[in-house]
């Protein structure tokens, strides 16, 4: 009897130990695809690219001041991909994007409407003593081959997340602009910012900070953030308009076709002269007509 009791105890202890190490149960199967979210009566919701969000808010405010209906609500930024996805599922009416749609996004039946073109700029901490950088200097700074500005002041490169549209247009304008993002790939352990607002805050608070932003957003920061020339070209509305400023991107809205009908009145305002004025005030160029 004692032997059997010992065996029972041993088996029970082993079972308890094994159960303690077995981990949590696996996740259940996910629900099938989410049903289309119905439109919210009386509200037009916009969300998406962080580069477009401040401009969309300005347009919404101007639209609201004019007494436009339905009420336009601009959500916190989701990124262009998040805006497109939310628009495709009907969670919002208009998705804000600052890059072309991918094939997968186009396959979801989204309709893209370009609204404006903005300037992506190289911005720096307000105390940086240089007024501009060349493409070669920028490549050297990003690659870590140079750690200082031309003036000799230390430069601290700040990065946007990989999916940020500004990265793509800057890389297209400055070929060979490379930075290692792999863990341990760069001994500087560059800081990554995930939103335009956080990038601007970082530029304003980091002496020697250098990063990308939008012209309008950088101007709003005042002297805390300095907008740098690139290869001797000063970023401005005029250089954007005459095409001499090379780093540019299109800001657009995407929507399911039936939601475009709901947004027609708002989009008419955006493409009106009044809307164009709001866009220019944000240092972006309005796109003429739809």
């Amino acid at each position: 009897v004692a032997g059997r009791l010992q065996l029972v105890w041993a088996v029970a202890a082993l079972a308890a130990l094994t159960a303690g190490c077995s981990g949590d149960p696996p996740p259940p199967d996910a629900m099938a695809a989410r049903a289309l979210v119905p439109a919210e009566p009386g509200v037009l919701r916009l969300a998406g690219s962080g580069a477009f969000t401040p401009l969309a808010r300005r347009l919404a405010e101007a639209y609201a001041q004019k007494g436009g209906e339905p009420r336009v609500v601009v959500e916190e930024s989701l990124g262009s991909g998040g805006g497109a996805s939310a628009a495709a599922e009907g969670a919002i009416d208009l998705g804000l994007v600052s890059r072309p749609l991918s094939a997968a996004e186009r396959a979801r039946g989204l309709v893209l409407t370009a609204v404006a073109v903005d300037a992506v700029v190289i911005a720096a901490h307000g105390s940086v003593s240089v007024d501009g950088v060349t493409s070669d200097e920028l490549r050297a700074l990003y690659a870590g081959k140079a750690r200082t500005f031309k003036s000799g002041a230390s430069a601290v490169v700040l990065l946007r997340d990989r999916g940020e549209s500004a990265n793509a247009v800057l890389a297209a304008a400055v070929p060979g602009l490379l930075v290692s993002r792999e863990p341990g790939g760069d001994e500087r352990q560059l800081r990554v910012l995930y939103h335009d607002a956080s990038m601007l805050e970082a530029l304003a608070s980091t002496p020697g900070g250098l990063g990308v932003s939008a012209l309008g957003l950088a101007r709003e920061m005042g002297p805390a953030v300095k907008v740098l020339d690139l290869d001797g070209v000063k970023p401005s509305l005029s250089s954007l308009q005459d095409g001499t400023w090379p780093v540019r991107r299109t800001l657009a809205v995407v929507a399911r076709p039936e939601r475009l009908e709901r947004a027609k009145v708002f989009l008419d305002f955006v493409f009106s002269d009044e809307g164009a004025g709001v866009i220019r005030a944000a240092y972006a160029l309005p796109v003429a007509g739809r």
Partner: protein
């Protein structure tokens, strides 16, 4: 003598014990390692899931309605925070999958899961599962098992072989001692019977012979009867003497081994027409009585074989010291040799049996046409058995 079978008894009881010990040694450490590592892995996965849940909670609080669509940046943020290689699955409060670009789980992975809940404002918003493939851990545990299995095999071999070998040696010594005891009892019994024959039957026949002589002197018997009865009594007395000599050679007790051998060689050679050369070393070790008796009997048997089967005319007997505490007996003849080259005749088997009982060794050689040579090595004191 019936074998003791102590070794096989020990084997039958030791084997299951050693086997179970080896299994415990081989299995316990790898199992403990695996369970400990698995427990650590589960805790690490729960910690990873909690870290993902913290990031997700901040995202949900920032975008309560649309957080599900901002996971592109979230994926990259997880990657930047060192969670990019963790396989993560997230289900929102409605049970829909939240797409996150996390480290993939290998196909056919044997996943281990750690879970963390994401709640905002006291309400469950999502659940995060972090997964890891435990096959590499199992592989490591298996390698550990192989190493410990080897250790267990070595340990089991030592635990099994050492006692069994010790027991086998002890069993051999016990069997030898029992053989010696049996031999001693047999010799003692023979001596007792010989005494009884000599003192009882022999004395009775001698008395009858004296009575016959007295009766013959008184002319109480018919003529010729006394001579006939006398011959019969002499023959009976001779038979008694031969029998007592066979049972316990009196020469050994009277003369000692060396002289007894010399006398036997001389007397047997004379009676059998065999020229026997006897050479006994003067400085022989002190021998047990059984060893001396065995030497005497072996010489008797070998010389008898030489005459009866080999028709030998010459023979030599040699008894010398062989190393420490042993003697070597060498008997050779010029007879016709053995018909059976292995020497399986009854007489030679008797020689082998005697030597074996005392722990000795026998070597019998019979080259064609060169007679027979019997070489026997015996311990002088077989009672001093060594391991």
């Amino acid at each position: 003598m019936t074998p003791l079978k102590l070794t096989s008894w020990l084997r039958s009881r030791l084997f299951p014990l050693v086997l179970s010990t080896a299994v415990v040694v081989a299995v316990s450490a790898p199992c403990a390692f695996y369970l400990r590592q698995r427990l650590d892995r589960v805790e690490a996965l729960r910690a990873d899931a909690s870290r993902v849940a913290d990031v997700l909670r901040a995202e949900i609080e920032a975008r309560p309605r649309l957080w599900r669509y901002g996971t592109g940046k979230l994926s990259e943020r997880l990657s930047e925070e060192g969670l990019g290689r963790v396989s993560v699955r997230v289900l929102d409060g409605d049970g829909f999958a939240v797409p996150l670009e996390a480290g993939p789980l290998p196909p056919n992975a044997w996943a281990l899961w750690g879970r963390a809940e994401v709640s905002t404002a006291g309400r469950p918003a999502a659940t995060v599962w972090a997964a890891a493939d435990q096959r590499p851990l199992l592989g490591t545990a298996f390698h550990l098992f192989l190493a410990f299995a080897l250790l267990a095999a070595l340990l089991g071999t030592v635990l099994y072989v050492m006692p069994v070998r010790a027991m086998a040696g002890a069993e051999r010594r016990i069997e030898l001692l029992l053989s010696r005891l049996a031999l001693a009892l047999q010799q003692e019994e023979r001596r007792r019977i010989a005494r009884e024959l000599h003192d009882g039957v022999g004395q009775a026949i001698t008395a009858a012979r004296l009575e016959l002589l007295a009766a013959s002197a008184r002319a109480a018997l018919p003529p010729g009867s006394a001579e006939t009865i006398g011959r019969r009594l002499d023959e009976a007395l001779d038979e008694v003497r031969r029998s007592t000599a066979m049972l316990a050679p009196p020469a050994l007790a009277e003369l000692g081994l060396a002289r007894a051998l010399e006398r036997h060689c001389t007397s047997f050679g004379g009676s059998a027409g065999l020229n026997v050369q006897c050479d006994v070393e003067a400085e022989l070790p002190m021998m047990d009585a059984d060893v001396e008796g065995a030497c005497y009997r072996i010489v008797q048997e070998a010389l008898s074989n030489a005459v009866r089967h080999g028709h030998a005319t010459c023979a030599s007997v040699s008894l010398k010291r062989a190393g420490t505490g042993a003697v070597a007996l060498d008997i050779s003849d010029d007879g016709s040799g053995l018909k059976d080259p292995v020497g399986r005749g009854q007489g030679l088997e008797g020689i082998r049996e005697r030597a074996k009982l005392l722990g000795g060794e026998v070597l019998i050689e019979s080259p064609p046409g060169a007679g027979v040579r019997v070489r026997v090595t015996l311990p002088a004191q077989p009672g001093e058995v060594r391991a």
